[in-house]
Symmetry: D2
């Protein structure tokens, strides 16, 4: 499979859970099907938005096999292999590759305190563990390390990395990465993880987007992508403005944890649309309370994603 | 003067220095004239790039009076009023207003440890100290505080703030600020301070740009602005790509301080073009060494800003 | 087993590895026996110093069963249960309890972004998973969260937590924890993880110490403990000064990663004494080079831990 | 004046203010006299606790001349010279030296982004500006830079620095600084700024203490010092425990800024004792509200610093 397959809108799919914290397979199938039929170009399972950190190995296996089956080859499936360090990541790689994913997405080591040379060896070892393409996941807010563009492009040129998912929030760094990658012949597919600056990031050269908010409005991101591809940047900005207003759902749970407010609001908005049965979060993250849920519902409704009449 | 005057390209002008560390007035006049005649829409004097933190009050006064006189009313002049806390900032406001500037740019308190309510009072007090518009300068890397968009838009709506210079590197925050400002009737003029994502930031709604690199290539930023205003976003991106390659000058002095590598490279590139006499930095920042200077010269030359034949 | 058993010197034992990265069981047995016979009051296996983050589940199981067997009940064995989030930590708890440990040591969730209420539920769930005492491991440099003393003392009072291992480097916070714990009737056993301020921390009320350097000089820490218990604080300081000089081994590998420089130097010093076969680090951490190893050897020799004649 | 004069308890004196924000000279004289007659070994004026960042140059001059006159040579007076960068710090040095202080205390540059070599030149230039001893003030929470012990000891050996005020909260770093200083022949007087670990820091070798809480209970810190000097470490710890309980005043204003909660509580407690007229804070820091003030009063009363009968 060529790296060129990896572009466009690739939402990090949420992992719907039952009331007792198990993977809700029918909901996951339903949401996967919805996303694929509404224009996304790939699915990213077991990402941070997928609550990968909270899932046991068995739950992870169930989530990834469910998504692969539900996608049925219509678009590529990328899987997060999020673990503390190399040997444990490699075990995850084997599991998700056996499940049939088309690419894996790995961070630098977590908890461990490593330098650039060690991180480089880490990615080399992950790449050597399977035949599927490896994306580096740059997310300093969770991993505490910012991946340098020189390291990334070098590993791209050598065939170790196929791409980068950038969730660093460092737009200057991303522009430099885009430029360095272009100068090297574009070995890497470069994805941004920031939902509200997609127009600008596509303009400056991103190859794709991994928007958590894409769970909530896949069609909106597909339109934004198409407008950008057509060079209609004013139109892209209008669609982005609409999506940015929708993104305000993640700021409603003031004072709650990042995972509760962020992933929690995505799950709430997806559940409101009936795409999953319930917005249950993984333990120990508690549900959003009624007042927050009401404000999220209002925002989702104003975005045109719910029927006009109040459902509550 | 209406806030609407404050838009477009407003470079934070460097402060040329003599060998003994005094303000080099003829060089500052020459550079000011060059910038104005090459299409900038305003000048920002006494910013971080202007080494304001290193200058005594007398040196600051000389710099601002020199720039105001050299501009001669052709474009607005904004002045940084960078001090530890409110009472000291207000003294700076009085000085630069007396010198004839059109707006002041103030950060949250420095060194002090204040909360949002105290920062709000700080800006109110600064606004009350003169009749000129006040811009908030959001630069967490130096001030350690990120200004919230709710605070900024509220102060804009009340007429306390006329605009924001965003050097926070938080693109999601900037997009949210743009959206909140638009929803409030656009009381604020919103400027980005990031040189290499100007195309994207203009697309998503920035009103202006304060590019340190604008000292080095004012005409390039003026072209980028005009292309964006004309809706030629592909053209804007091409110009931005060229400027992003030029921006690599700030990364040449690896291992040196942020001020040496950043402001130092701007001064070096401006001096190479003969726009100022020497790239001298304010004490205790040491000059860039010959090897770094050579690489900067090569980058500036490749950007087409020097004659073809080597000058060294 | 009463909490009162958990006090004194409890080194976080390194995990010796073979050349191909497997647990070196004979070396681990030898080192365990050495520590116990040189006066330590407990062993902490699978801590950060034990490279727990780098080990697979099978390797962890082998390490903990080896240590439990080698200790043979002479002192308590505490085991780290270091995983991303609650469900995965609970799996580790079951494994180490089955292996026979006397207490478990857990951090707040890693990679996940949780608030105080979620972290509290996390610890409650861990405590409910077994009958052994639970220690909270406060190590912001790896986990990014500082545990509040109010949370810790409340969980101590309720019987959820039996103690705290403080590796936060926040001496003011530790003093406040000591005071709050005393005011609550001392439900918690409070351990400091900082090797070079043990005299001061014991003076101000620490119940125990988890010194990585205790792998290298167990007898020294045992003496320091005994002097402090006897109220000979001047003597304690002299012993601490000697150990602080020995601790300089961790600063020899300048420019290397934290794990390479820290754990790497402990392993090097332990191997020099013949207590383990080799200083091999877990992948991807590379060995310390010869020059660094030489300086470490010199420091260890000056501390009187090697024979007078050079062994190299 | 020999560096040996600088040791013991040296409180960073608060700057009492009138209702309109001017220096309250009679209160400052009264507090100074109280501190000197209750056993302190020096006074530190214009420190962070003295709200130096908030004062204009004229206010600073008035504060320092008032303190120098009130002390009348009974103990040394140290003065903070807190400004953005070197040239501005040197202006402060000239002012306070003219006012008659015995030493100056300077941080690394603020707002500016400098490297170690530049910071070293900064301190050299400050030292060259006068004949009085220079102390380096290590306070990363305000300055963002941690001063390395190698830099500090080297500058001590060369006679540039006479001492260090450590407010870094890094106890391991302080122990290493103590050890490196001792190895170099103790050129530096080493002061800790942390009020609640004074027993431990004196045990491990601190030469003095700069306790903000010393404004509130100078006699307590003097007793703690005397007990430590006499080698009565158990007694020192008991006194420290009492002072640590008193220090809880700084944690009463939850949700307020660091300066409001910290300096505000010191001023409130000092005013309660009648040592200054009012707890007014410098603009824009607002007064602590009644509920917080009540809790502070209760804590101060429990520490035995107020008459038994309620004064309110």
């Amino acid at each position: 499979m060529s790296t060129a397959r990896f572009r466009g809108i690739v939402p990090p799919i949420v992992t719907p859970l039952t009331a007792d914290g198990q993977v809700d397979v029918p909901s996951l199938e339903r949401l996967t099907h919805h996303l694929v039929t509404h224009g996304v170009h790939g699915i990213f399972v077991l990402g941070s938005t997928g609550e990968v950190a909270y899932l046991t190995d068995e739950q992870r296996r169930l989530a990834v096999t469910t998504v692969v089956a539900a996608v049925g080859g219509r678009v590529p499936v990328m899987a997060g292999v999020i673990e503390l360090t190399t040997a444990r990541v490699v075990e995850q790689v084997r599991m998700v590759v056996e499940a049939g994913v088309d690419a894996v997405v790995a961070t630098a080591p977590v908890y461990a305190i490593n330098d650039a040379a060690e991180i480089e060896d880490h990615f080399r070892s992950i790449a050597a563990a399977s035949d599927v393409p490896v994306f580096a996941y740059d997310i300093p807010v969770r991993v505490k390390v910012k991946l340098g563009h020189d390291l990334l492009v070098r590993l791209g040129t050598e065939g170790v990395l196929a791409g980068v998912k950038d969730s660093s929030g460092d737009d200057v760094g991303f522009r430099r990465l885009v430029a360095a990658n272009a100068a090297a012949g574009s070995p890497l597919a470069l994805f941004t993880g920031h939902e509200v600056v997609v127009d600008g990031m596509l303009l400056l050269g991103a190859d794709g987007v991994v928007p958590g908010l894409g769970n909530v409005d896949a069609a909106g991101y597909a339109r934004l992508w198409d407008l950008a591809q057509a060079g209609d940047w004013a139109g892209a900005r209008r669609e982005q403005d609409r999506l940015a207003a929708l993104f305000e759902i993640v700021f409603q749970a003031a004072g709650r944890s990042g995972d509760a407010a962020g992933v929690g609001s995505f799950k709430a908005a997806v559940a409101l649309q009936g795409l999953i049965d319930a917005p249950t979060m993984a333990f120990p993250v508690r549900a959003l309370d009624g007042d927050v849920a009401d404000r999220i519902e209002q925002i989702v409704r104003e975005a045109g994603l719910l029927a006009a009449a109040p459902t509550a």
